[in-house]
């Protein structure tokens, strides 16, 4: 049985980043602190440092995502690593090669690190359990399970604007059921000591027993947004906007879309976050997305530094 947390070695050292669940606060904070100094690097004229010179990082994207892949690519390049992008959705998998066949082939090309995006929950765990002990795996999103680097950059952004986690009220709003981002955010927030984490969604978009993850459940924005310091909006996938999950995008926007009016129910200095790409007019109104309280663009900037931090910490943790 595979019941050991496969991210950590026997000494508790981070070998892979697969999920924020089960990681001690000290590791999360070490990543955020390291990212802090990478922000300094990204503000220089020369944005490149030689830390991962000679390392090969493979972006293994079994599910297309130009955006996320690009941020990992920039992060790796700024660390001077060699980056190889593979869009597996259209190559090996269609020839009948299995996921692990692909990984074995690339490992034979002396990969040092895999950045994995896959439509199935657990795909990154499977790869991490399979690779040589000196190869590191970063989960860039697996099914509805986890997206730890997104959650970490969100934590970085929250700390940047709010300084301390221990007196915050945070609301995560939208399709919690299908969201890997929400799950990773919840685990990171509770680990970092945020005392009040809420999820706000209609019942069709909430998984069973979600309160066991340490959140309070709300179905009504006017109640759920009261005294909130941080609003974390989630993307609503197109295919969920109509049918059995929701009647229409319009109705969703009316009751759960973030407008200036609804935002005014939260604390006056609350910040608004979104992992992107946004559906304006569905989960968020343009006036809010582009408004004073929005920190959506800084999130993207910080995302590079956070991914640089994760890559360099993993590369430095040799088994």
């Amino acid at each position: 049985m595979i019941n050991r947390n496969p991210q950590l070695d026997e000494n508790g050292i981070l070998q892979h980043l697969l999920t924020t669940e089960g990681l001690p606060a000290s590791i999360l904070l070490h990543i955020l602190d390291t990212a802090e100094s990478f922000v300094g690097v990204t503000e220089r004229d020369v944005k490149k440092i030689p830390l991962l010179r000679g390392k090969s990082i493979f972006n293994l994207f079994f599910e297309p995502s130009t955006r996320t892949r690009t941020t990992f690519e920039i992060a790796a390049k700024r660390l001077s690593a060699d980056v190889i992008n593979l869009n597996i959705a259209v190559s090996a998998q269609s020839k009948g090669e299995t996921l692990l066949d692909t990984v074995d082939n690339l490992s034979a090309m002396n990969a040092d690190m895999f950045v994995v995006r896959h439509s199935q929950s657990g795909a990154a765990h499977l790869i991490a359990n399979h690779v040589r002990s000196d190869v590191h795996v970063i989960n860039a999103g697996d099914g509805s399970h986890a997206h730890p680097t997104q959650a970490l950059l969100d934590m970085f952004t929250i700390r940047h604007y709010k300084k301390d986690f221990r007196n915050l009220s945070v609301a995560i709003i939208g399709d919690i059921l299908h969201s890997r981002v929400a799950r990773s955010q919840i685990h990171a927030l509770t680990t970092l000591g945020v005392p009040e984490v809420r999820v706000i969604a209609p019942k069709t978009l909430l998984p069973k027993m979600v309160e066991r993850l340490g959140v309070h459940v709300y179905h009504d924005m006017s109640k759920g947004l009261k005294n909130i310091d941080v609003l974390m909006m989630l993307r609503l996938q197109n295919e969920r906007m109509q049918g059995a999950n929701l009647p229409s995008a319009e109705e969703y926007f009316k009751y759960y879309g973030l407008t200036s009016e609804k935002l005014s129910l939260a604390r006056r200095n609350a910040i608004v976050m979104h992992p992107g790409p946004m559906n304006r007019g569905v989960e968020i109104d343009s006036a809010v997305a582009d408004g004073k309280q929005s920190v959506i663009l800084p999130q993207v900037t910080f995302g590079i530094a956070v991914r640089m931090a994760v890559m360099s910490i993993l590369a430095g943790n040799q088994a």
Binding site: S37, S312, G316
Partner: protein
């Protein structure tokens, strides 16, 4: 063994730099001990340019061996590096590898006209062709000992010697 008084070494070092440089020189301290020393020098010598700091963790050549374990500080260079005369300040000069990393990092900010090196203690043991232009003292120490600069709450500087294998 009896270690020299860091405050006396500091005074000597400051005097040497003062005799040699004008006030337009820029100081950059290397984390952590080098920054404490640079702060004191910056004050003592009444340097006009703001003080810079470097954390060379991202440029070290032993990353493969030790990784990024300790907290990395942000490097801040609050002046134009291009064409500047810069004095790098570090507490102890030993193999020269830290200075190599610092010079590399500095060049990612621009091309200085000149870089000099100031150190409180030169303990020998160089592995790279690097020399300090300003030195508080030269000491020969056993290879299994680590020499560090400490700063008390009052700001007073002192030297301390550890066994390599013992944690601080």
């Amino acid at each position: 063994m009896q270690l020299p008084d860091a405050e006396i070494l500091f005074k000597d070092l400051a005097k040497k730099i003062k005799n040699d440089c004008d006030k337009n020189v820029a100081l950059i301290g290397i984390h952590t001990g080098g920054v404490w020393l640079a702060e004191r020098l910056h004050q003592e010598l009444e340097i006009a340019q703001p003080l810079g700091t470097l954390d060379v963790s991202f440029y070290r050549d032993d990353f493969e061996k030790i990784g990024l374990h300790s907290e990395v500080k942000r490097s801040t260079i609050p002046f134009e590096v291009e064409g500047a005369h810069i004095i790098l300040v570090d507490d102890v000069l030993n193999t020269g590898r830290t200075i190599r990393a610092a010079i590399n990092e500095l060049f990612d900010y621009g091309r200085p006209s000149r870089i000099s090196l100031a150190t409180l203690v030169d303990r020998g043991g160089r592995e790279l062709p690097i020399t300090a232009q300003y030195t508080g003292i030269e000491l020969t120490l056993p290879a299994d000992k680590i020499l560090v600069l400490k700063r008390e709450k009052s700001g007073k500087l002192s030297l301390d010697l550890y066994d390599k294998n013992l944690p601080e």
